[in-house]
């Protein structure tokens, strides 16, 4: 979104990007009428992972912090939505707001520990946050039902609306929510905070020397990323009607980072990356039982392909 746009003289005069974006959205909306129920449920999963990838990209690609632990806040949001649904609150928008709030609160609570560190240490600490949170979800049985997880009733798109039990409708609800979240993210990236986060990624000492309260600014960014991850968790409940500690586990964290890496710093790229991950792991893998192999190949392609793309661009 940023790196490709800022190359003067490369873009043709026709506004290609808005056209491509509009075309993609149209196809996404029409998807339930094009493909079958199984593919639609995969597409919904991809959107959920895409939200988590956006949250990760806000830290990795924009703020320059290699965050491994966003799955933790995703899990906090998912459990929030599940507990609400089991308590009789099934309105999706309420889930989204509540899950984003608890995700943000969890991020705020952990930010002081996490933001003491940078680079590889930051990655290790966020990894610790992720695994500790997942362990907590597995051990706190009275609330989370442990490793058996929580089953929930179907989510409704608005209070009193129809229950989302048909894959196509669930998908459209999730798509609408993700588009809204994407819009919010776009606004955030163009805001002062977005610029400040990029500045900190580039030269933190310079930011401090200009009087910026670096830790405070990074905390804001971290909390915002936590809110997006939490909202993603609410969407997980809409799609799966189930959450367990595995949904915030190591594998989820790893593939999220992979999706962000495929996106190479760009927010739309992260969502595309998430779609690629689900396509390789579940769609290709689902019919051949070689999902992990396809995922491994994708990892290698990213590791070797990104320098190649860079070279082609320059």
């Amino acid at each position: 979104m940023t790196t490709t746009l800022s190359r003067p003289g490369v873009l043709p005069a026709v506004p290609v990007r808005p056209l491509v974006f509009a075309g993609t959205v149209t196809v996404c909306v029409a998807l339930p009428w094009i493909v079958g129920a199984y593919q639609i449920s995969l597409a919904a999963s991809a959107l959920v992972l895409g939200t988590l990838a956006m949250s990760t990209q806000l830290l990795v690609g924009v703020t320059g912090l290699p965050a491994f632990g966003q799955a933790a806040y995703f899990g906090v949001g998912a459990y929030t939505a599940a507990l609400l649904a089991n308590a009789g609150v099934t309105a999706g928008p309420v889930h989204l707001v509540a899950a984003a709030s608890t995700g943000a609160a969890a991020a705020l609570a952990t930010a002081p520990i996490v933001l003491r560190t940078r680079a590889t240490t930051f990655m290790m600490v966020t990894f610790a946050v992720q695994s500790l949170t997942a362990t907590l979800a597995s051990k706190w049985k009275p609330v989370t039902n442990g490793d058996d997880g929580l089953h929930t009733p179907a989510v409704r798109p608005w209070p009193g609306g129809p229950a989302l039990t048909v894959n196509g409708f669930t998908y459209l609800y999730v798509l609408a929510a993700v588009l809204l979240l994407g819009l919010l993210m776009a606004v955030l990236l163009r805001s002062r905070l977005g610029l400040v986060l990029r500045g900190n990624a580039d030269h933190e000492q310079r930011m401090a020397a200009l009087g910026h309260r670096v830790t405070g600014e990074l905390t804001l960014g971290y909390v915002a990323a936590g809110a997006f991850a939490g909202a993603g968790g609410a969407l997980l409940i809409a799609v799966n009607r189930y959450v367990s500690p595995a949904d915030m586990g190591f594998e989820v964290a790893a593939v999220t980072l992979l999706a962000a890496a495929i996106g190479a710093g760009s927010m739309t790229g992260a969502v595309v990356g998430a779609a690629l991950v689900v396509f390789a792991r579940d769609y290709l893998g689902g019919s051949t039982e070689h999902g992990p192999a396809f995922l491994g190949i994708l990892f290698l392609l990213v590791a070797y392909g990104r320098p190649l793309v860079k070279r082609l661009r320059s």
Binding site: S6, P8, R192, L195, V196, R198, G199, A201, D202, H203, Q205, R206, M207, A208, A209, L210, G211, H212, R213, V214, S314
Partner: protein
């Protein structure tokens, strides 16, 4: 009225006193210069005032307030602005975004609303002449413009005290003149603390000068008084005699390096186009030119660090050097002392070991013993980490690392950058000794005095071409000054 009061300030690193018992009073509006040899503690003093380093002893009072408990950001909000030795800009952000980040509500003394911020940014860009580069990512600007941008970013934050850490390092003469004008044009109530090795700049800009040596305060006074002081001469200004290049036997050696059709550049645009070059064995050649003329690109292309394009052909003693393969170029006998030194996170001894391991096979002339004899400063520091060395020692280490590979062609990129006059003089002597051992030397340099004193021949680059090539003895100085903007 005193704006900055420093009392008995000291900083220890282990057993090393980087700064010891320094007391200074800087009044509002002063232009205060700080000079001294490499390792005198100048940058430490500046970092202590900026808050990036904590003092071991002493106090710093700014505008009546003790700064001890304030971090760098809090000090910046109170009006302390700074630059770094290497331009600290946001490389991936545009020029506009760089300045926008400086316009905080502290700078505006009002909430940072979009229209107010945009107006201030516009004003800063126009005043500094950066408007035409507004949409360019800072990392893609030429070095001189990055320095200018850093200056603009610092000023946009509206500081009352400027800490300038070697602002003229790496600038060509014309850019230095512009810097002098910019410092001269600062509002009268803005106070400036300036560290620089360019003494002409310091004498002309500053009204008070402090000399530091080995972490201690030597003298503070008006520029004339400081220049005349005997102890200052002894510690810093005294430049030993250097054997001039003419004293060396004139060489009629066969060509060692032959370059034809050299094309190189970044992002599609050629920095160098169809460059032809021949250097005879044993020659000492200077590459001169303004910033952005292509000096570093040329040197890096020769060492294989920058990819070249056809029809480039680089031959060393008749053998074609493979393009884009720096390790093979190095094995063939080309060593570089890069700009900014690029040392490893290792000790001095480890640096030397690595270099020895990759020494060219055959007759090894430059052994560790010989190198340490040539650069005695390193001998006492073998177990020290490279980051703990002074600027001068770091440059010597970079030179030692290159020399131990026993190169046939030694390339140096801005070797005098950031070095005190006495160290520059020592460098000149050293290069003379290296050349007389039969090593061919090619160096890019902004310090014309040094370049013309040390070398036999000069090449002047302008806009990616060689605009002038001449022996130093018969050099057309007017033409040279016109080309480099002196």
């Amino acid at each position: 009225m005193t704006l900055l009061q420093v009392d008995n300030l000291g900083r220890r690193y282990g057993g090393l006193h980087a700064l010891q018992g320094v007391t200074l009073a800087v009044p509002v509006g002063a232009r205060h210069g700080i000079i001294g040899p490499n390792g005198a503690g100048k940058s430490t003093l500046l970092n202590l005032i900026a808050g990036t380093v904590r003092p071991s002893t002493g106090t710093i009072v700014f505008d009546g307030k003790d700064l001890a408990r304030l971090g760098p950001a809090a000090r910046a909000r109170r009006g302390i602005g700074r630059t770094w030795q290497h331009p600290a800009v946001f490389r991936r952000l545009t020029v506009t975004a760089n300045v926008t980040l400086a316009v905080t509500r502290h700078a505006l003394r009002a909430p940072a609303r979009r229209p107010a911020v945009a107006a201030r940014v516009q004003e800063v860009l126009e005043r500094t002449g950066l408007t035409e580069h507004a949409a360019v990512p800072a990392g893609q600007l030429p070095y001189g413009l990055q320095r200018l941008l850093e200056f603009a970013v610092m000023l946009a934050a509206g500081p009352r005290l400027l800490l300038l850490d070697e602002p003229s390092a790496g600038l060509d003469p014309e850019e230095t003149a512009r810097l002098r004008a910019a410092v001269g044009a600062l509002p009268e109530d803005v106070t400036t603390l300036l560290i620089d090795h360019n003494l002409d700049l310091v004498w002309s800009v500053c009204d008070t000068v402090t000399v530091l040596a080995q972490g201690r305060h030597l003298i503070t006074g008006a520029p004339d008084a400081v220049r005349a002081d005997e102890s200052v001469r002894a510690a810093y200004l005294n430049v030993p005699a250097v054997p001039s290049a003419a004293a060396r036997p004139v060489r009629t050696g066969r060509p060692l390096l032959r370059v034809t059709g050299l094309r190189a550049g970044y992002h599609g645009a050629d920095v160098l186009s169809e460059l032809e070059l021949e250097i005879a064995e044993g020659d000492l050649v200077a590459v001169l030119g303004r910033n952005g003329a292509g000096k570093t690109t040329l040197l890096n292309a020769l060492t294989g660090l920058v990819p070249t394009k056809p029809p480039t052909r680089i031959e060393l003693d008749g053998t074609v050097l493979p393009p884009g393969r720096p390790h093979r170029v190095a094995r063939a006998g080309v060593a570089i002392v890069p700009q900014g030194r690029r040392l490893f996170a290792l000790t001095v001894a480890e640096h030397l070991e690595i270099a020895e391991a990759t020494a060219r096979r055959g007759d090894v002339y430059w052994t560790r013993a010989k190198v340490l004899e040539l650069l005695p400063a390193l001998a006492g520091r073998l177990s020290h980490h490279a980051t703990r060395l002074s600027g001068g020692e770091q440059q010597m280490l970079a030179l030692a690392r290159a020399l131990l590979t026993n190169p046939r062609l030694l390339i140096l990129d801005e070797p005098s950058e950031g070095l005190a006059p006495a160290v520059v003089a020592h460098l000149a002597t050293t290069l003379g000794v290296i050349a007389s051992s039969g090593v061919t030397v090619l160096m890019a340099e902004q310090n014309l005095d040094l370049a013309l004193r040390v070398t036999d021949r000069v090449l002047v680059l302008a806009e990616g071409r060689i605009a002038l090539r001449s022996p130093v003895a018969s050099l057309d100085r007017d033409r040279l000054h016109e080309l480099v903007g002196a």
